[in-house]
Symmetry: C2
Subunit: 331 residues, 2 copies
């Protein structure tokens, strides 16, 4: 029995600062660093997406809060701002999905991340037009459906993620091994990831890349309101909660609106009553207009670890440096 | 810019099979492998605890389901079955806690893991008798309280863990960095850990050891009923859920009892009505007597990844091998 003082791990013959990573995710998107910036309503327009792509990750325009005309404008501006690959995230259940898909094809967007809907509806069509398609899932069952539909990869998004979420409440620590065990296509982990250590942990679980939302929501280039960014930076442990489970579960920062929902739910409000309480435009009000008490403040649990803003490039640099430094650190 | 085909990591000059690990957790308990077997009601008696300790981890007798006399019997038998360190897990809110503490002191148990209560009540007294004290927490606020109370380490237990759980629902991926950032004492991660990869992921997040429950609940030496073990092995994704939040949140396998609770909660049952529905001895019924439909089946989300039983030693060997193999695997 050899006894050593510590387990040491190290990159073999590699300088920490000047390395790239090549795996199926970096190859699929032709990117340098396997960090994907999540498509976020009212937050990830062309400025954020192009900044992330220019920094070596994959930026996504979040089409969920955009009309088709606005989406087209963002795609055109994104193409002008970067020569690197970028993508569009589309919620498949949206009413003008047909128009959005056509614009994505016409504008030759190289990558689509789809969510909130059936991947079999659009994947084949998008791929016929040479587009790489990734679907966001919250279970291995949906991951298999995405693989069967022809998706090139899946995002396995855990319970701790911000915004809309799955009903089984499987966390990233458990979901990533389940999904990597269920499909052969590459798995991108999401939910609870904002640091290099969390990125490395997710990749040890079997992911080949990470999708990061909350950390990029406070980037200088994010189009959400300063009040929302401040709410994210100021959020502490326990400040987000998965709510509105009778409608579609969504993780929000607790505020006046959240408290009213909780009160209604504690009084057994019907789904219809909750729909009425929710109303229209609640996410826009909170995230884009900055009404931090009456709006929906969609953000992940990991906001409790986010204390600074900065450029998208500085965020990627920080995460990637910590990722590599952790590989060099004795355990 | 140096471009390499893959990031490779490796243990420096170390043979994979024949290594031990020395860190603050292994030193604190004087164990070889930083795996602690969680104290589990009706499941972790002297047989399981001694088997885990004999295999190089730290076994815990779960006092939560034991009278003082039974606890004494288990401690005596555990001491006869192993010369290695072991511990007792005591829920601090239990009515006969005074007697249990006295037995632990009289029998010179080296380690106590406390949970479900205020660590300031007993920690000092236990430490005066030379006992190492660790407290289980679900937030960094409680972790700091435990550190202030003089605890030697904390277990940071995430939302995905089985049995009773915190109200903030912070997952292991987020909780471990929060807790390691808040305290100076060693942090042991719990919740969602059943494999060597999950163990390594938790330690990358900052933990210096892991507490594993579900995986050991199906060990040959576990005293729970075969029906319960079968329910754990057969549990698939989404089969556990955190429920009874109006009382004390508890993660259970969905069954008839769970369904009745859900129905009552959907109809806005009062805490009193839920207390009545819960009744007494529900965990014993499910876990020890094997009534898998009417009992409480307390187990973690990670049960969806557990497909085999085996001896405690084989489980530790399997986890520890995967942990070390993963350190050698190119990312």
């Amino acid at each position: 029995m050899v006894i050593i003082p510590k387990l040491i791990w190290a990159l073999k013959g590699l300088q920490a600062i000047s390395c790239q990573m090549h795996n199926r995710v970096t190859q699929l998107f032709n990117i340098e660093i396997p960090i994907i910036q999540a498509g976020m309503v009212w937050t990830s327009g062309w400025k954020l997406a192009s900044a992330v792509s220019n920094a070596g990750g994959l930026g996504l325009i979040g089409a969920g809060s955009m009309t088709s005309d606005i989406l087209k404008e963002h795609i055109v501006k994104c193409k002008a701002a970067t020569v690197k690959p970028f993508g569009v995230n589309i919620p498949l259940l949206y009413s003008d999905i047909d128009k959005q898909v056509q614009i994505i094809i016409d504008e030759k967007v190289p990558v689509v991340f789809s969510s909130a809907g059936n991947p079999s509806t659009w994947t084949k069509y998008l791929k016929q037009h040479g587009i790489t398609v990734v679907h966001v899932v919250s279970s291995s069952k949906f991951a298999k459906k995405a693989e069967d539909a022809g998706c090139d990869a899946v995002v396995a998004e855990g319970f701790e993620a911000g915004g809309h979420n799955g009903r089984e409440e499987t966390t990233t620590m458990v979901l990533v091994p389940l999904v990597t065990g269920a499909v052969n296509i590459p798995v991108i982990a999401a939910g609870g990831i904002a640091t290099g250590k969390q990125m490395l942990a997710a990749m040890i679980l079997g992911a080949e890349g990470v999708q990061i939302g909350s950390r990029f929501a406070v980037a200088n280039e994010a189009s959400c309101h300063e009040n929302f960014k401040n709410a994210v930076v100021n959020a502490t442990e326990g400040d987000t909660f998965l709510t509105l489970k009778k409608l579609t579960p969504v993780r929000l920062i607790k505020n006046n609106f959240f408290n009213r929902v909780q009160k209604a739910e504690n009084q057994c409000a019907s789904p219809e009553a909750l729909e009425q309480l929710l109303g229209k435009g609640r996410a826009r009000k909170g995230i884009f207009e900055g009404d931090t008490e009456e709006g929906e403040l969609e953000i992940g649990q990991v906001s409790s670890l986010i204390k600074t803003t900065g450029s998208a490039e500085s965020i990627i640099t920080e995460i990637w440096k910590e990722f590599k430094d952790t590989l060099h650190t004795p355990l």
